[in-house]
Amino acid sequence: MKSYISATVFSQRETVGGHFLIVLKVPSSFKESLPGQFVMVRVKSCNHPFLSRPFSIYSVYSHGKNTFLEILYKVVGKGTEVFSRLREGDILNILGPLGKGFDLPSECDKIVLIAGGVGIAPLSFLAEYCEKDSNHAEIICYMGAGNLEALVGMDRINGICSVVKISTDDGSWGHPGSVTELFGRDMELYLGNDSRIYSCGPNPMLRSLHQLLRDQHVACQVSLEERMACGIGACLGCVVKTKSDGLVRVCKEGPVFDINSIEFSDHNG
């Protein structure tokens, strides 16, 4: 039986401006988490925010008898604002791991990650996971952000990937422009059966990646974001339009989808 779990804040710190890394002490069942899965999070003692908030799992590991779960998040509204003030010992309620994670590459030479901002979180977990795996594929990461200060999660991904390429909208670091653009220049390197592309980021970014890859034969999976109420498939609140199955639930059928299966709209972008 799964359950609604109390998790204690083990530590929290601001990594780059407005982005926080929170480490939670969780039951050992979380060790089974797969890259791309997420958790629903809520402050135990406060009814504000009212609904739980979904976050990708950034990392899970054990230390002695304890299991720790990391979330990397950006403050964008009232919920994340409240979370950012949590301190060691505060108690959260969480549900998870939830959703369908990334299809993991069985055999492939190149794993390409394309991250927009805090979209790095599930991709970083994926990279860690693949690195530990027997699979010896090369892992390449394209990371984009608004500016230098918003480049979150770089240290960790740098330690795992063979190549990390950066873009910032304002040119304050790396390629000046979007990460899709940056990836687009190298794209030919990855067209073929030996590469797997994984991406997570804001909807407009995923939309332009979709444009870019539309006529290519390459496997690309994306992790989507939608407002969620339940996270377990019950409320039908988190649907996204797909090309062949109509409206499907991001929390249950996703959050990871083949990029080509999604009908990108612009309501969220």
Binding site: M1, K2, S3, Y4, R42, N47, H48, P49, F50, L51, S52, N93, L95, E226, R227, M228, A229, C230, G231, I232, G233, A234, C235, L236, G237, C238, V239, V240, K241, G246, L247, K252, S265, H267, N268
Partner: protein, 304 residues
């Protein structure tokens, strides 16, 4: 102390008064990972229509202060697929399954009921009358006593199962609608459905919901629900099921004290999928503490 938790709702016997509300519990399956569904008084499934419905485009939900707005648009698999694909699984639990139904015309409702009549494992129907009647210029069935009476009578005549009519709070006088549905043969009433609301994204200056308006649920609406249940209990003699903003046993007990014979837990399931059984357990604790051996001795005991 041996506690009696059973209640009778218009011929439907429940082992305890905690029911999960339509649209907040899927078809039960999603929650079976979290607790033993047999522990529930009953399960009301997501609203069923004659034909499958895709529902509204996203965004469909937005949080509000102590509540949420939803405009799911009654997405559902349709009554036939429900019977073929969902009901067999539900027959595995021994909690009664209540089919929540809706339509755009009276005939729609009647057709759905007729199909359910032949299905094994449905214990009652709950008629959602908050929907617009397309034949009458879109006025909701539930906001007009005559329409509400008509649809109740039609469903009741067609149904072999007990008929629970679910009332909308978006009315001037809910007792008028309650009396009309009672007179038309309803076996029980459930209330309240969501209150129509709206929320605006001030950055983009667009509604947060693609559908513009949505239904407000959650603790924000509890005081309105309690008041309406109280009014209706005093206006009719059929059993009333209280719904709206229940987050814990204390909230559920408020509804029972004002006279609801059972309650439905809605939005709270989204926050804690195990909440419904927690409520059953905590209600037992309250009864033990207060020396109430039969839940029926708590119902309707408000002192004025």
């Amino acid at each position: 102390m041996k506690l009696k938790m059973g209640v009778d709702i218009g011929g439907l016997a429940l082992k305890n008064p905690i029911i999960t509300a339509s649209g907040t519990f899927g078809y039960g399956e999603e929650y079976s990972d979290y607790f033993d569904l047999n522990r529930l008084g009953a399960i009301v499934v997501k609203g069923l229509s004659l034909k499958p419905r895709e529902g509204n485009p996203p965004p469909r939900i937005i949080e509000t202060a102590s509540g949420m707005l939803n405009a799911i648009g009654l997405q559902n698999v349709g009554v036939r697929a429900f019977i073929d694909e969902k009901l067999p699984w539900l027959r595995g639990t021994n909690s009664p399954v209540v089919a929540n139904i809706f339509g755009e015309t009276i005939e729609d409702y009647v057709n759905v009921v007729e199909i359910l009549n032949d299905a094994e494992g449905v214990a009652a129907v709950e008629v959602n009358i908050s929907c617009p009647n397309v034949k009458r210029g879109g006025i909701a069935f539930g906001s007009d006593p005559i329409l509400a009476g008509e649809i109740t009578r039609a469903v009741k005549n067609a149904s072999r199962l007990p008929v629970i009519v679910k009332l909308t709070p978006n009315v001037t006088d809910i007792t008028e609608i309650a009396r009309a549905t009672e007179a038309a043969g309803a076996d029980a009433l459930s209330l309240i459905n969501t209150i129509t609301g709206m929320s605006v994204d001030i950055e983009k200056r667009i509604p947060h919901l693609e559908n513009v308006t949505g239904g407000l649920s959650g603790p924000a609406i509890k005081p309105v629900a309690i008041r309406m249940v109280w009014e209706v209990v005093n206006a009719v003699s059929i059993p009333v099921i209280g719904v709206g903003g229940i987050m814990n046993a204390r909230d559920a007990i408020e509804f029972l004290i004002v006279g609801a014979k059972a309650v439905q837990v809605g939005t709270a399931n989204f926050i804690n999928p195990g909440i419904a059984v927690d409520i059953v357990d905590d209600m037992r604790k309250y009864m033990t503490e207060k020396g109430i051996s039969d839940i029926n001795n708590l119902i309707g005991t408000l002192k004025i």
